[in-house]
């Protein structure tokens, strides 16, 4: 411990001796880390969703359309081809609901209506239709209030209550507690029962496929579909928009996702039998399988991470060059240390420590610089309205990578300087 402290003091002295040089080393590392953290943060918005939804939750799917998969492959919209697998028709939903086998189930689709807070003018308003089971299946966390319930749905007529997504609440009510407020949707008034809490910096698994109005929306009980007559934003095979909700609700076209939670035992086999009777193409896909499909970020973000990793590599080599030059220039000093009895390992460790210190200071500064960079990214690329967030996992990953980078950049200069005989250095005095 005393050795480490002593070595750290020497490293500090060495770095202070040439402050501008040290500043360039640290700043170079910091800028590279800041852009790497930004890339990591943006990519994580769409990836690694395992564990968000429990393993006993399933979605009814079929195989995605092969022609669409080919059409979108290698483009920034790659995931869209898979969306053709997610949509089931309303008659299918009703048939599955009638079995009574799921412990909870929900439709999940988005349409665009006209409306907004009653106090203001009517505007374009994205509306998500789902059942009360939605909140239970996905263990939805609430910022204010709570969900609408099955009891709300089952009364006749259903209780006119809705839930706001975090971001719509931000947009409509500046983030204030809006429970109890009234929202008018397609001419009908609904009371706000609660505001959901958006996961920091990451899209929800159940939001994939419902794009693009999938985040900032008002969640309305599906029981109101016949009154509000939604026109789903996505459907597959596409429905004719100009035929109205009644035709859509009877159409064999897929217009909604259908999620369900099944108890252990026979229920899954029984549901699969019902699905087979509806059509051989239908199957149950578990939430874990769906999450596994999103283990990688979308193509543009994957490439962005690769590019910033190369930036980080350039910065590591740059640091290596600078440390090597600095160590070589200190040949005389190191020669004295060696002559006074310092072993190669001592010189090696001290030099290595200098690399790690510079790298870690640069990383911490880079993480700080990443905050404005991430904010700038969020403003410049309004891809989806999930605010980016530098999460503890990203900070930990970055620090680990930078520790490795520090070791890598320090090892070569340390080895070079420690492997030369002390007489050679002394000769320079």
């Amino acid at each position: 411990m005393t050795d480490v402290r002593y070595n750290l003091r020497l490293v500090g002295k060495s770095l202070r001796r040439d402050p501008w040089f040290t500043l360039v080393m640290v700043l170079g590392q910091a800028l590279s880390v800041s852009i790497f953290v930004t890339a990591l943060t943006t990519s994580q918005r769409y990836a690694n969703m395992t564990g968000q939804v429990r393993g006993d939750v399933f979605r009814v799917e079929r195989d995605p359309n092969a022609a669409l998969m080919r059409f979108y492959r290698g483009t920034q919209f790659e995931v869209f081809g898979e969306f053709s697998a997610n949509y089931v028709s309303v008659p299918t939903v009703r048939a599955l609901g009638a079995t009574g086998l799921p412990t909870a189930s929900t439709v999940n689709f988005v349409s665009v209506a006209t409306g907004g807070p009653v106090e203001g003018p009517a505007n374009r308003l994205p509306v998500r239709f789902c059942d009360a089971g939605f909140f239970e299946i996905f263990d939805v966390a609430f910022r204010y209030g709570g969900p609408f319930t099955r009891a709300d749905e089952r009364t006749s007529p259903p209780v006119p209550v809705v839930v706001l997504s975090d971001l719509l609440n931000q947009k409509l009510y500046a983030g204030a507690d809006s429970t109890g407020r009234t929202i008018r949707i397609s001419g009908r008034d609904f009371r706000v029962a609660g505001v959901m809490r958006q996961r920091a910096g990451k899209l929800n698994l159940w939001d994939f496929g419902v794009a693009p109005e999938n985040i900032a929306n008002v969640v309305v009980p599906f029981a109101f579909a016949d009154v509000l007559r939604p026109m789903p934003v996505f459907s597959y095979p596409p429905v004719a928009a100009n035929e109205g909700w009644r035709a859509i609700a009877e159409s064999p076209s897929g217009v909604t996702e259908y999620w369900l939670r099944l108890p252990a035992g026979e229920a899954r086999t029984q549901i699969e039998a019902v699905l087979a009777s509806i059509g051989p193409q239908w199957l149950l896909r578990s939430a874990n399988e769906i999450a596994a499909r999103f283990s990688k970020p979308p193509p543009p973000y994957r490439i962005f991470v690769i590019l910033t990793l190369v930036v980080l590599e350039v910065s590591v080599i740059n640091l290596m060059r600078m440390l090597l030059a600095k160590a070589t220039s200190r040949a005389a000093e190191i020669g004295i240390h060696r002559a006074l009895g310092a072993g190669r390992n001592v010189i090696f460790m001290r030099q290595l420590l200098e690399g790690v210190v510079v790298s870690m200071v640069g990383s911490v500064l880079g993480l700080a610089l990443a905050m404005p960079t991430v904010t700038m990214f969020d403003r410049l690329i309004p891809d989806l309205p999930v605010r980016l967030a530098v999460t503890p996992a990203i900070v930990a990953t970055t620090l680990l990578i930078c520790l490795l980078a520090g070791l890598v950049s320090g090892i070569y200069p340390a080895w070079r300087i420690a492997s030369v005989a002390p007489t050679r250095y002394l000769g320079k005095i």
Partner: protein, 401 residues
Amino acid sequence: MNPSLELGPILRSLRHHKGAFSLLVLEVALGFVMLTHTMIAIRNYYRLYVHPVGLPEDQLVIARRRFLHPRDIEQARGAARVDLAALNGIAPTAALDTAPLPDAAAFPAVLAPRAGGREVLAWPLYATPGVAGALGLDVVFGTGLDARGGADANGAAQPVLITWTVAEQLYGTADRALGQNLTGSTFGTGRVVGVVRDFAFRGGWVPAPNSFVVVPAQAVTEHEIIYVLRAPAGRRAAVIDAATAALAGTADADAAIEVKRLERETTRFAQLSSGAVIILIWTGFLVVAVALAGSLALASFSVAERTRQIGVRRALGASRGEIVRYFLLENLVLTTFGLALGLGLAAGMNQMVRRIMADMVLTADLALLSMAVFLTTGLLSALVPARRAALIPPWAATRTL
């Protein structure tokens, strides 16, 4: 001085300092890899942003009638007929299922020639018959939808327009498409009554941006009707005012009216593309700046380390200019090695990146541009130590410390 005479000492010096110089070569190589791919991405996003959509963007006006309560489809169609009659008196107008350059995603339709042949995926656009006039589509062969409205003699096929790209893909040449029957996965059977010059109604962002099939339809929903008007040049503001008045004057109090110009800059994808360009420029700048700053900071070390060597050269008659040239040439050699290595690495990386995104194609112009950037910054970074080295007096060779 003859450069060939310089190369000998330079190469010997490179061998002597192989560790430090290898790192410089590697840094240039990786920097080149990164910069070329950043430039590819910048070029692609810029192209998406400026992609010509083949529509008279500066003339188009989008009008919406949003129903405050859902409207029965028949009533919505009635409202559309009244609106179209009024709006067509102001400018060529059509009702469409979606506004040009939409933010929302959609699925393409699969088109197949009735006579058999390859299938083509194309974006369907549902619109009332006046669509060619309203969007300013250039009908190259045949007619617009308005001249041949309705189904054919046996009532099976509806008239459709296809873009030049789709016509060539389906029938080999565009002129052969006219009168052909095809099937569309989203609309049934159609008969090609016209081939229009390519247009990218959904912008350049989607795959196959110029592949479109225009299908006649009563483009209304229970919630909204979307109109597109084409204003004569310079009269867009007047058309917006007139259209607003016409839509508001139809005594339908249960609707919200919105009329505005088409503005590519405000669309989600345009913002995304321009934002991506800015972020990527910043990323590319960072890598060059980090490498340049590092090299400049190393200047004093690289000179100090070689004071005696330079002193000897000066004592043997080398002029200051020759010392500067020596440093520049040395840097040029190292940068060239780095760029040669980088070119190989970039080609390898490009193979990998293209498996992720097919349009990330490495081209010679961008490779040359990246080379120019590194050669320039390399020479710039060498100039500082070179000038400093040139100031070393000949007697420095005799110093021991």
